[in-house]
C-alpha cells in the first residue's frame, strides 16, 4: 500500500513536470524558433515575412567584361531575362551559335561547348552546356549580401614576389 502511494505521487509529479514543460515549449515557440540565433542572409526570424529589397534591372555594358580567373564563365554584358531557353528553343543560341555569329556579330560560344565529356566533337551544342544561365549571368547594381574577399591570382603572385625581394 505504502509503495503504491509513493509511486502514485511520483507519477503525478512526473505528469505535472511534463505538462509544464509542454506549456513552456509552447510559450517559447510563439516568440522565437530554434536556430533563430544563427546569422542568415534573411536578416529576420524564420517565422516572419520581411519586406524584400526592391528588384534592380540587369545592366547593359559596352563590350565584354573582365574575367576574374581563367576558368570563369564569361559574364553576360546585357539583359538576358527575357530570352527563352527550353527544350524547344534557345534564344541565346540564335545569336551565339556557330551558325549565327557571322550575322549577329556576337562572340561564338567556346569550343568546349561542342565537346562531350570525353572530349569527342559534336555537331551541335552539348546537352550539358545547353542551359546557358546555369553558368552565365547578367550583372545587377545591387549591394552584395555578403562581403566578397576574392583576390585576383595576379595580386597574390605579385605579393609573394614582393615578399621574396625583401
Amino acid at each position: 500500500m505504502k509503495t503504491s502511494k509513493k509511486s502514485f505521487a511520483k507519477i503525478t509529479a512526473l505528469l505535472m513536470l511534463t505538462g509544464t514543460a509542454f506549456i513552456a515549449v509552447g510559450a517559447v515557440a510563439e516568440k522565437t524558433i530554434r536556430g533563430d540565433h544563427f546569422a542568415t542572409l534573411r536578416h529576420a526570424p524564420l517565422n516572419t515575412e520581411p519586406t524584400p529589397p526592391p528588384l534592380t534591372n540587369e545592366k547593359e555594358h559596352h563590350g565584354s567584361l573582365a574575367r576574374n580567373y581563367p576558368a570563369q564563365a564569361p559574364i553576360i554584358p546585357h539583359q538576358a531575362h527575357k530570352y527563352q531557353i527550353n527544350r524547344k528553343v534557345n534564344q541565346c543560341l540564335s545569336c551565339h551559335d556557330r551558325s549565327r555569329v557571322h550575322e549577329s556579330k556576337a562572340p561564338m560560344i567556346a569550343i568546349s561547348h561542342y565537346l562531350t565529356r570525353n572530349n569527342h566533337f559534336l555537331a551541335q551544342v552539348s546537352p550539358r552546356r545547353y542551359f546557358c544561365t546555369q553558368c552565365h549571368v547578367s550583372q545587377e547594381s545591387s549591394t552584395p549580401l555578403v562581403k566578397n574577399t576574392f583576390v585576383d591570382v595576379d595580386k597574390l603572385v605579385e605579393a609573394s614576389a614582393n615578399k621574396k625581394q625583401h
Binding site: 559596352h62 546585357h78 527575357k82 527563352q84 524547344k88 534564344q91 540564335s94 556579330k105
Partner: protein, 195 residues
C-alpha cells in the same frame, strides 16, 4: 417548303407595284446602314481582348504567357492587347484576318487545340501564320505603336541601337525578323531562319 421558296422567289423577281422607286431606294439605303452598322458592331465586339480570352484555349495558353511579358505590365503602364498585335486596322485586311480566324474558332468547336498538348502541337503552324502576316505587312501592327522615326538610338541599349540603325533602318529586316516570341512562348524553332 419548296413551294414557299418558289413563291418567295417569284415575288422577289416581280417588279414592285405597291411601293414607289423612291421608297425602295431610301428604304434600301436605311436597311443598308442598319445591317452595315450591325455587322461592324458585331465585328468590333469580337475585337476585344475579352472576346479573345473568352475561350479557354486562348486564356490558358497564350494569355498566361503574355502576362509575364513587357506588353502586359511595364514602367510606362501602356498595354498591348490581343487585337493590337493581331487585328489589322485597315478594313480589308481586318476582314481577311477575321476569315482566317474563323478557322481557329473552328479549331475550338471541333477541339483540335483543346488541351495544352494539342495546342503545343499546333503552335508552330499558328505562329508561322502570324510571322508570315507580319513579314508581309512590314510589321504594321508593331509599328502602330513603335514608330521607327521616333526611336532615339542614344536612349536604346547598345545592341538595340546597333540592330535598329543598320538592318532595320535599311529596310533589310522588319521587327518580326528579330523579335519573334515577344509575347508568347515559342514553338520548336528547328529550321526557322535566324534560329
Amino acid at each position: 417548303m419548296i413551294e414557299i421558296l418558289k413563291k418567295a422567289w417569284r415575288i422577289l423577281c416581280k417588279p414592285s407595284v405597291h411601293y414607289s422607286l423612291g421608297f425602295l431606294t431610301v428604304g434600301g439605303f436605311v436597311a443598308g446602314i442598319i445591317f452595315w452598322g450591325g455587322f461592324n458592331t458585331a465585328l468590333e465586339a469580337t475585337n476585344t481582348e475579352k472576346f479573345c480570352i473568352s475561350c479557354h484555349e486562348m486564356r490558358d495558353n497564350v494569355y498566361q504567357e503574355l502576362k509575364t511579358t513587357i506588353h502586359f505590365t511595364n514602367r510606362s503602364g501602356v498595354r498591348a492587347t490581343c487585337p493590337d498585335c493581331h487585328v489589322p486596322h485597315k478594313w480589308t485586311n481586318k476582314i481577311a484576318r477575321k476569315m482566317q480566324a474563323s478557322k481557329e474558332v473552328w479549331g475550338k468547336i471541333f477541339g483540335t487545340i483543346n488541351t495544352r498538348e494539342k495546342f503545343e502541337a499546333h503552335r508552330r503552324e499558328l505562329a508561322e501564320h502570324e510571322w508570315a502576316r507580319l513579314k508581309a505587312n512590314d510589321s504594321l501592327e508593331c509599328r502602330n505603336c513603335h514608330n521607327f522615326n521616333y526611336m532615339d538610338f542614344t536612349r536604346q541599349s547598345p545592341r538595340a541601337a546597333r540592330a535598329h540603325s543598320t538592318a532595320l533602318a535599311s529596310g533589310e529586316k522588319t521587327c518580326i525578323d528579330c523579335h519573334k516570341g515577344i509575347a508568347h512562348h515559342l514553338p520548336d524553332m528547328k529550321g526557322v531562319k535566324g534560329f
